[in-house]
Symmetry: C5
Subunit: 357 residues, 5 copies
């Protein structure tokens, strides 16, 4: 279960403490810096922190994208270099926060989730965005270059991303993270469809586990998406600084998408519950079939067995004429066989009428 | 599953980009243009775009109905010709939006859903309506001429549709789309009724699949209808421009219908859940019946079989007088048969008393 | 299923159109007119429409009660005669509206539901009330004289119904319709009780159908009642014209009753769900009992049968001394019988200990 | 089912009519009157109505507690004597009202519920309190002297109950009624615990009925408690007359308790649902055990039976050397017995590996 | 069940009465006092009450932490010494209150819950915090020194805890109590994971009990957490005195954590429900497997048994040539054996095709 990896400060530590996270592999960071205004747009890869700090102080708009999981020390350095709030840093450090919006003095801090599909399970991943008057700093705790497309659009001359203020860039990043849920939903849609067929046609224990895992992923997805919707909605509040009215129109579109995703997640969740029912009924139907076979075989052969057992008895014909005279009839055996055939035919007719065949 | 067909922009593309939709068959559009005022009402079919543009600029009120799925280029042309907002165009392009209302500067944009019943599944279809001071442009992504009836009413002299402003026409279109859900509900009602009888009388695997499909359709219907209700409700907000007070009274009626549909969808959904229970109980009852037959047969024939087996044993009467003397009684065989009849009678009595017959 | 009888306008017809209803039997109307003021109260039965119109124009307060389902033409005539809004007429015509309150210019229109218990199913019936300055016109789509009691109270000298304005009469009618749900609830209460016993003691397929039908009725009742509560609540809004402050106190009592009914409907609904569980468990318990009988019989007789079969084998004693010497012991048969008794006793003891008896 | 005893006015009767209640046993009332101010506190038992009326007119504060179910005439007399609103009297008469607060002109009317545990079922009982400037009149429809403790506290010199206005006395009565739910919850808690063990260890049909009854009681309790919370909350509204600010602090504590009870009722309700699941699983587990026994016995003895049956066949050894030569081997019988032992051992091993033992 | 231990005042006792609690073991209290300002920070352990009172009156800020369950007398003394509101004292005494915030005249009272994991069950424990201008008094009803970490942080020179007002200390305590839920959630996460595997692979009755217990704990946790969130949210209301604006930013972080915990509890609850389903399906699958074995064995051996029984019949060959001539064929026995092999092979093939193996 991804969602509760030890990712919280030990209770009682001071706020803003960066500790209590399990270390996972190497913790290196990749800085990608874009300095742009209407006239130019320069992209630098693997920029050292000091240089980042320098660019932040230039009048051009600066976007620094940090990928990978920062270690505690690194984050502290970053916090000082970029002037980030300690509580926000704590949220970046423990990368499993609920999506949210925090407004600090002259800086806005947005946390979003960018879950990934990882072998049938939802892997929670966090995107954190800080922005101020003329800078945007984005963090994401994995090394996929998810923002490459935005960078490309930026490099086109006359792109809205360049002519507008940084709020439009922030919108573009949020929009991208929100829209990344659609291909993910496609995954769920496919899984549900496959499991539907399995549950109806060939319900195995494996199917059961997969339905359960899917449900769990959907519960988590729902939790994440609900918070995302709230965060995007909060972005549209008129008291959030630095967001222009026109950008709000775009964010409204973003919110619509976020709500659409939430709607679909809820629909899938209900479908998944229905799937569990279908699985159960299917299992139950199979049991019925097995039992029918058992009942049919038993019902047919028990009387036959009884009859043959009957004529296997050893009552002495000599003791009296009533002791199994059938055994000494010339047509005794054919008569018994004939009787058995009649019994079987009657049974089969009766089963047919009850719809057991 | 209809609801997640690849119908979203690839994440990261610029807002208003028209891409990422799977192409389905031929993409031709049909333009039907109505130019009307109190005195006249002219209908033109298959009008070329340039002519449409011309009519839009005349002082008469103009209604252009576009049917079919527009290709990206076509839509771009339309957007420029009719002066439509790029974000709205994107919504028209990816025809699976939630119902909604957008108010742009001098234009209102309404998205509604017109789902269709397609072989037991709900097929999502979109109706998009733009309107401004003296024009209405409607899009629907299928070629059924759903608005024919409104056109007919328009052609009657003195029709309210002609004497009122375009807001009344918009109301008439919305009203039609909303009311089209009633015949659809009738379909659900019929399906539920059929499945109820099947589930109670003859529950098969096919029944199970149909209940599950119905449920899925109802989840989707609910999602669609919820959004529709919100959109129609939003139309009644006093800050929506171009809507006269009197039209608002009519929209209120429309909203009532939308709520009534939502209520019914919820009721059907609950009924469908109940249906699943009924299916399960029915299956369970059938298992009980099968098991009863099995138990009755077994209970009757096992003791009989045992008795006949007993007297099939080969203990030597010569070895001692206690070795199966019954076999040598004159009435041994009739006595055994008699004993068996008594046993069967006792069993039958016992089963009757327990209510197994 | 009563709730979706073809009772809606064909989509696309003009608002206020009276069409699209299935005709049910004869459509005659019965007009009962009461003209009253503080001093007098005259009741006329089967009054022709023209006379009704005349009475409406007199200064005395007039209450016209129309019972039966009006045909489209009749309703059109009535609408003109009594000056009723076309949208309201449409609601009267399609008698399956949600309860609601509409305020037109100088007229208030209230729709309520008066469901009836009809052979185990809830039959939806509508009561529509128009009222203005000094008149009340009530419609109900069945011919039961449900308002007889109010008329009787009116005829008593000094009755509050006569001394107050028409709003008090409207309250009295609404109160009656609201309170008519209590005897109906009694029916549900009785049904639930009967089904509880059946489900626990003797669950049959019939029981299952009845529980399902009850559930369906309760879903519908809930839908109806929810709307009724909203409508009664809307009556208390201070912006509804013609309602005096004192009457609002009485309506508050009415609202309390409506909420109480809703509460009870919800409680019954939950009980009905619990009933379904009880049914399932009961069925499951019965299966267990059947299986226990089967298992007991099998467990006892299989070993016995095996033993008797064993000594029915034909190994030749002559071939060697180890071939079934038991058959030639003097006490072989009694020993086997004894062994069998011991086995049965051991089994019985074991079953007793496991609590199978 | 207690909750729907015929306890409502016949629909159509005038508001304030006292009729339609089933008469239960003798209907006598017991009046307990307390006249008090800071200096004195006199308690009178079984006071006649006229005397009550006299005390109400004295300047001292007066609390009249009426216990038992009043008949219609008695209540009419009381209404006139104490100047109570007819609608409120109707609520007192039909003692199954939802908890509520009504503010009349110079009088406040509070209805609360005081359910009792009655042989495993929740018995609804009503407490009604009227209060005005210097009087409190309380009704409860049973003869338990539930307010004895408040009277005792009143008799202590300097008790807050005496030094404060009547609103504090009203608070004390409400507080008592609210807190009486805690011992009741204890009953539910005990029941749930007992049923948990039963459902897990020894699920019988009786257990099932008890779980169902408990659920029903909890649904009713929830309904009652929800209304109580609303009523207590309404008491704290600043527009309720006669309630001092300090008393509101105490009422807030009361509200906290009422919410805590509601929380617990909801928790028990969910537990009860879980209990139903546990019951089902337990039943299902038992079935599994029965079936395992059946399968083990069958699986072991069927092959053995077959083998012994095989060697009970009568093929004539004389007809040919291939006809059952085993029967004439010297060690045929021991070999067969040995083979059978091997088969049983193999089976047991196989069952063990599958975890059936 | 922990949650309903007799922990409420007997109904009818005066508010603020300290009675009605079951005594549990020894009731001694431990007082830990911290006196601090920017310059110094002195910690005293096991301080007598009188000394506490003295420190409260000094100008330095004072934090008194009281651990253990106070007896009624002790609490009364404390109440007088520290000037605490009687209603608040009652809440401290009955240590199972819902989390809440009470604002008294110059004192704020916060109740929180600090549940502990106790052998698979959630044990409810209460933390109560009073604070005023320059003092904080905290109670917790167990003897774990949960606040040790805060004390340590306080002793560091220049710690924010020392430079800020007491509201920051209160924040630190609340933050700690809120964050203590994360390790607890870890416990639930682990339990769910273990039970998931058990339910899927090896569902026993023990598993069932554990799932049920987990559910119960989660219901209680949910109840507790919901109230906690409300209480923390209430702390941020601007009308709460003594809380500085900056502290509100920190409390917002606290609220975020509380909401995150609630979200996770809800997710676990849903997972636990899913787990119950998985358990059921698993049990059902196992039953199916048992039944398949039973059916296979029966289906194979019943016909074989019948055949061998058939040739065990004793029809006299002498009576006629049709009486079982097979018995006298030279290859009769091999033919029968061969026939049996063919039957078994056919059965196995049929089972394979149906997917029973």
């Amino acid at each position: 279960m991804d969602m509760m990896e030890q990712r919280f400060n030990p209770p009682g530590t001071a706020p803003g403490t960066l500790a209590g996270r399990a270390v996972e592999g190497e913790e290196t960071l990749h800085f990608t810096l874009v300095e742009y205004d209407e006239k130019k747009c320069d992209v630098f890869f693997e920029v050292p922190i000091d240089e980042c700090r320098f660019h932040l102080s230039t009048p051009e708009k600066t976007w620094i994208d940090v990928s990978g999981r920062p270690s505690a020390e690194m984050l502290k350095t970053l916090g000082e270099a970029f002037n980030l709030h300690p509580l926000a840093l704590e949220d970046v450090f423990h990368a499993n926060q609920r999506s949210k919006l925090e407004v600090f003095d002259r800086q806005v801090f947005v946390v979003l989730n960018d879950p990934a599909w990882n072998g049938g399970e939802l892997k929670v991943r966090q995107v954190s965005i800080f922005f101020g008057h003329n800078y945007v700093i984005s963090f994401h705790d994995h090394t996929d270059d998810i923002f490459a497309l935005v960078r490309e659009r930026m490099q086109q001359v006359g792109a809205r991303l360049r002519t507008h203020e940084v709020d439009y860039l922030v919108y573009a990043l949020i929009d991208l993270v929100v829209d990344r849920k659609f291909p993910l939903l496609q995954r769920f849609s496919d899984s549900v469809e496959v499991l539907e067929d399995e549950a109806l046609e060939q319900p195995t224990r494996q199917t059961l586990r997969q339905i359960h895992d899917l449900r769990r992923s959907l519960y988590n997805f729902h939790r994440i998406q609900w918070a995302e919707r709230e965060a995007v909605h909060a972005m549209m509040r008129t008291d959030v600084p630095l967001i222009a009215g026109e950008t709000r129109t775009y964010l409204r579109d973003c919110l619509d998408h976020s709500i659409a995703v939430l709607d679909l997640v809820e629909t899938y969740r209900e479908m998944c519950n229905s799937l569990m029912d279908v699985y159960m009924m299917s299992t139950s139907n199979r049991l019925n079939e097995v039992m029918k076979v058992l009942a049919i075989i038993t019902t047919i052969f028990m009387p036959l067995g009884f009859i043959s057992g009957l004529y296997g008895m050893n009552f002495s014909a000599e003791a009296g004429p009533l002791n199994m005279p059938e055994l000494h009839w010339a047509y005794g055996y054919p008569a018994v066989i004939g009787g058995m055939v009649v019994i079987v035919a009657a049974m089969v007719y009766w089963f047919k009428r009850r719809g057991w065949f």
